[in-house]
Symmetry: D4
Subunit: 242 residues, 8 copies
């Protein structure tokens, strides 16, 4: 069992890795090689704005599902189920504090738990997506896209521009009803290049300053303090006469 | 006079460079050193959705202006004026085809014209922002963020993923009422590292596939074919019972 | 219409790019965004040894298909069909000279033709897989894996270790029954990093010398001259007494 | 509260970071997004030679201020004030030992203290400028420009050419009148690329040997031992007859 | 005496390093310079499928031997003997669990022991091949080629995609019949670049997903679960009518 | 004979290369190996402010000379003489337009001519210093330090930030009283890395914006328009009461 | 048939490539795979000082031969013969001008001709060694080690430090007694990384200045002008009293 | 006081750093700036073969001295003296074990002690040469050139190819007749790039295998075991009949 803990980002950060772990055969060799995974997985996706849900059966619904989960600020993967075993394979926190509170009340600390082995992906297939740091929403003031840096527990305190966003992976083994662990997976030097890449992408994104897509889109900033700033200037606009 | 022609992007692509040219003293030394530029510039910004406009006086309105022009899909810099000379300094095409037509009817080919010297920025200050390729909206199917690659005229045909987005810079000299030129500025090897950087960022953004912020946000995709795809699945959603 | 011509490799080289173009939503945005591509594509795969064929319906047969086409020396994608339009989308040469002749009689010059636009992938989606040079079989004496380097027509003559394997992409437009073209797509500097990467991977693979997986596997070398060498030494083997 | 301690450089080293923290919207998102920072900050700048001071109101005095603080050997930012809160935001040591003593009596150990949060910049915005090591005066014999390397406390002893100049950042929290801390911010691997960049720029600057701008300008060397050397040769000069 | 312990790979991983240590004069200077090594070494090679063996006398049998040991999944170097001293120089574990069990029963943990000095190679010549990480079979599900990363004991737990494959080198000194040690050779920063290279090659190989030669060849997958997957689809094939 | 022509810099740009060519044994092997160069060279150095001159005999005056020529804005190497041949070896333009006119009247186009062979340095020793681009004064508005980029004639038009500063090297052979040539030396791909380095250093220096030492020191800006800007604010300064 | 022409180096430059082409199975796959090359090649090696020769039979004399040809200033490979075909395979110019004249009379322009195909190596195996630029003697004043840069004919004029040493490869086909060609092999972009590597190694070697092994060893400098310099100082030495 | 201890190299390794510390104004700013160092230093150089010595007065004897100390296998800098203070500034071990014993009896462990401050170079000037790892003789079997890697005490055990050669720097302060220390200077991250560079150069040199200049020249190998190997083959040489 792998427990992922992220900081300075939102639950949408799990969409890309969960997709890769359970539906991308370039990430997870088991989808192709392992008879117990070959039938694929079901994904329960939540619409975080309208509080609705939908289940996608992969691989056949792959293209449909990506329409939604690619917009990770609105649609979140709540859970994944094995179609062979009919058991839950992964679950993630999807509540977004800001949406719940109606305003920016702080940052979420999203969590995701994934089961491994015996019809589930191997541990290494679960960790694999994090070796290529993807862009996630959060970072400074919950208002910026930045790379998700895989870290050991010791490296996990964000500082630069209050980031970049971090993720740690802790491995536990269920043994006679007890959790044995944790193993601190991202302490492995195999993620050194991922950390370096994350720093380089952080440099690049930061060079865009207050411009999208470093800064989140206007709709995503609704729950930050920016609307107050915009309102102040509303009166200075005047119509364009074409 | 420098004429910029871009391909596979939208007029919002000019916001960042126009800001840097006329309001960023780290880009334009003349803002600090040149007495004729020291008073700064006025920016006319259009709200492309609600057809309104506003004029920002920089430097004093700097922070206010960035609230808007950072959202370059909605707010575009239409023109820039010298506060010292009371003359127009730059003008850009800001109509967005999709917004005008109400659906995706093809890609815009945005144009921007900037005047140089004598109270206006030097040619090299006008070209400078393009040495750091920023992310612009457009690319494949007008639906993706990608780096804006500075190119010579000969290098300007986009291919990879129908891109990456390109910009050429043509220099003309006004001489006895005639335009003499053009000089193909980005043919200079001084932009070789910018092209290399653009390719590397293109590799990175492409690795995100159909996920934001490589794919544009849902509101930006309104005028593409994606809403048709989303509608098809609308019936499969069901309420979440908390 | 894009015509791909490769040198110093075998038809199996098309498997990975055809998969990406027509079934990988991280490569082809249209699979997700474009309603006319959303239903996916059918792949006709040939078993080049036993002269059998099978049709895979993607996305639902994705994992099944990869079991076979990943072994590109034996299973080749002969053709791809649009499930929406019920029309052919791509066709490739799949005969392997060696298999036909029963011995090594020279190298194949594999060809692949892909249709674009209107329910087919965009040109840029068709070219995209070649921006990440993958390993293909062929190169020196048809016996080595090496990276497939995208080249302009002018750069297409292989030299180093008789390679590395090359591919050119020529664009034609069908216009009143005539082919207009060709456009030499890989002449674009957007592929400069791909060429550099190909050279670096070529350096790495060459450092493995006569060891797999730089050298092809024993079964793949059946039609080269190596079996003659092996036979000579057969008599020197003696049983292991455990 | 962040306390910066630098070694092998002069107080002028704080000018660039203080400018970025309190006046550069590409560094500090809060200037744009946060209503409590939106009005900007006042900078008290001292003329270290003529013992005069001036207050700049940013953003409107931005270009004016840069005329002076860009010359960081003569003009130092003594303090920064929030225009919204009317409170002090940062203070730095600006006395230059050499100027006070009239000769080179050793190196300054400049200190800078910055307040964070609640109308002040976020901690990550305060740390951000140090992720791009800038050139500062000092290093060997107080006579050379070199990059300012962000370091953990453990890494902070300069050696190479008595440098390169270092800066550590210690975080304290004011809690019931007591300082809790310190947190050693630059121990974060997020600054690994900054350290690498600093080493590379150190290599480059050192390659210039005793030439400007690695060596400081003649006026800056006034308080070193170099004037004694120059004097010795004064007699050997003779007039040029044009 | 150097003891090598590898994880996530098969005994064939020793073929390339043993060849380099005992037969490649570009790796082992002693073959050229040291009179006691100048006569070369004998290699005992086992055919792991047909349980036969052969002895190659190097250098004269060099080209012959490479025909076989280059196919490291089938032919393994069991032992190496000094021709000068007529003593054993190296021995490796060559049993392959899968071949013994007839199915995939887990991964081998191959071991190799090499003697050093006095007519044997120097310690540094024995360690040298691992400074250029070569591709070995194993990694995820024993089904993929990946680079063999030299690690300290502390760094030796594989995580990413259950890898990349690792090797540690422990040095023991025989002293009055007792083994003194171990020295953890790969803890030396001299292997930092090798680790970085291994990570970069791991990135590249992973980008090939389920395609050869990242995935092992079909014959190598015989003892994994993949044949079960292939069988399921056998009925869907139909003959090609040419 | 090599003629160097530079753009966007001042005559001081020649100080470092002339020093290396005629006095640095790490640059010029002939100083050590060639009996006709072994006695060294004399340097005539001009004080451009006080119109005085001095002759340094190298190697014995090496350290003395560097005190002055390191300050290349004030002290310029006017000519170099062979101590063995008692002949002129190099001559450079040293007048600075700004100093002559008393204000900024445009940029100098400095020229330098160096004789080669037969007691003079070899052609390759004369070109060598330019393979490591050093920082020179000039660039935008004659007010910035930037790297001197070696270029072919075709690449010699500066664009980025009106630069970076360029130098071309033209070779002529004196043959029966006629100049045969020119050979365009820097068109050689041997300078490709120098050009790339120059671009990277240009990126770094530009990141410093209006701060020293990217911007020239205050005394160097005396002849630009900056003093006018400074004067405007003089009245706002007030005394510091310690 | 491939004709190699080198500039700014000596005939010893061919030793390493000829060894790799005809005796290194990591370079030439044919040595392992091709029955007509499997028996190996004979090398005729000349002692350029004592005017003696010896023939080495490879592979069995491999280690012996390397003792000599590694010292490429004294021992040169004059010719290579196929042991299978009993025909000449390669021939090189081995006279060293300096040795013949007894003093430095200029630089050699070494030539090497290699036959290809039909029992000889493939063209790509002959070109392969030049993709990793090795260090050769020559360069400035025939007195320095530097990397041998593979170049197109157009790129072949050395400039930097009179180098770095260059090699071009021209392909001719013997057709009815006529030579058809030449093909300019190194114009292929497949050698771009080799050229870049050569420039980087040139930078490194140059940083060593007049120190070995950038400068040749004392015995190699015997025919340059350096002995004259040494002699001059002979009288200043005095005995050491231990 | 800095004590340098090196491993896997010979005393000649100190020649380049001692030259840079006491005679190269690009390394040591004090030679130019500090009046007490401006007169330069005297170098006592020993001829290790003929047991003679000579004193060079720098800067005037610079070119003369480099003729000798560049050949660091024969001429070693025994001591350096301040010309101003008339005191010893540095001393190094120069005996070469092999030369003393007449055969290879093991490797030297060369030591060098340098005094700092007060007319001597600053500590950072003494450490500076080691930030650019130069090639030194030694490494495997005392027969190869390799880069000298600056290391902390903890990193100082050579492994790879019995190297690369290492140097540690220990700082002691003389305080009331006692040595206080040591400070482990090269533990500073400022040498991380130097270590990386050393690894990259080690990779490059190793790629040359048994060829010069990775392998030492024949005269340098006199005291290794190679002459025994050469002798064995002497009889097989025969005269060349021109």
């Amino acid at each position: 069992m792998v427990v992922f803990l992220a900081d300075k980002t939102e639950p949408g950060a799990w969409n890309l890795p969960l997709y890769k772990i359970f539906a991308d055969p370039f990430n997870t060799a088991g989808l192709v090689i392992d008879p117990k995974m070959h039938k694929g997985f079901d994904f329960e996706v939540h619409d975080l704005i309208e509080h609705k849900k939908i289940v996608f059966h992969c691989p056949e619904d792959l293209y449909d599902m990506l329409v939604f989960i690619g917009a990770m600020g609105r649609y979140g993967i709540k859970a994944v189920y094995s179609r062979t075993l009919d058991e839950i394979a992964a679950v993630s926190s999807t509540q977004r504090l800001n949406l719940m509170a109606g305003k920016y009340v702080g940052k979420d600390d999203p969590v995701c738990i994934v089961r491994c082995q015996s019809g589930m992906p191997a541990v290494g297939e679960v960790l694999e997506p994090f070796s290529k740091p993807h862009l996630v929403a959060g970072w400074m003031r919950g208002s910026h896209y930045g790379p998700l840096m895989p870290c050991s527990v010791k490296q996990s305190t964000p500082t630069r521009f209050d980031g970049p966003p971090r993720v740690v992976a802790l491995g536990f083994q269920l043994c006679h009803g007890k959790l044995v662990g944790p193993q601190d997976f991202f302490a492995d030097p195999a993620y050194d290049e991922a950390r370096r890449k994350a720093n380089q992408i952080a440099d690049y994104m930061r060079s865009l300053g207050p411009f999208e897509p470093h800064r989140l889109g206007l709709d995503e900033l609704e729950y930050t303090t920016m609307p107050q700033v915009m309102e102040k200037l509303a009166g200075r606009f005047e119509p364009v006469q074409d």
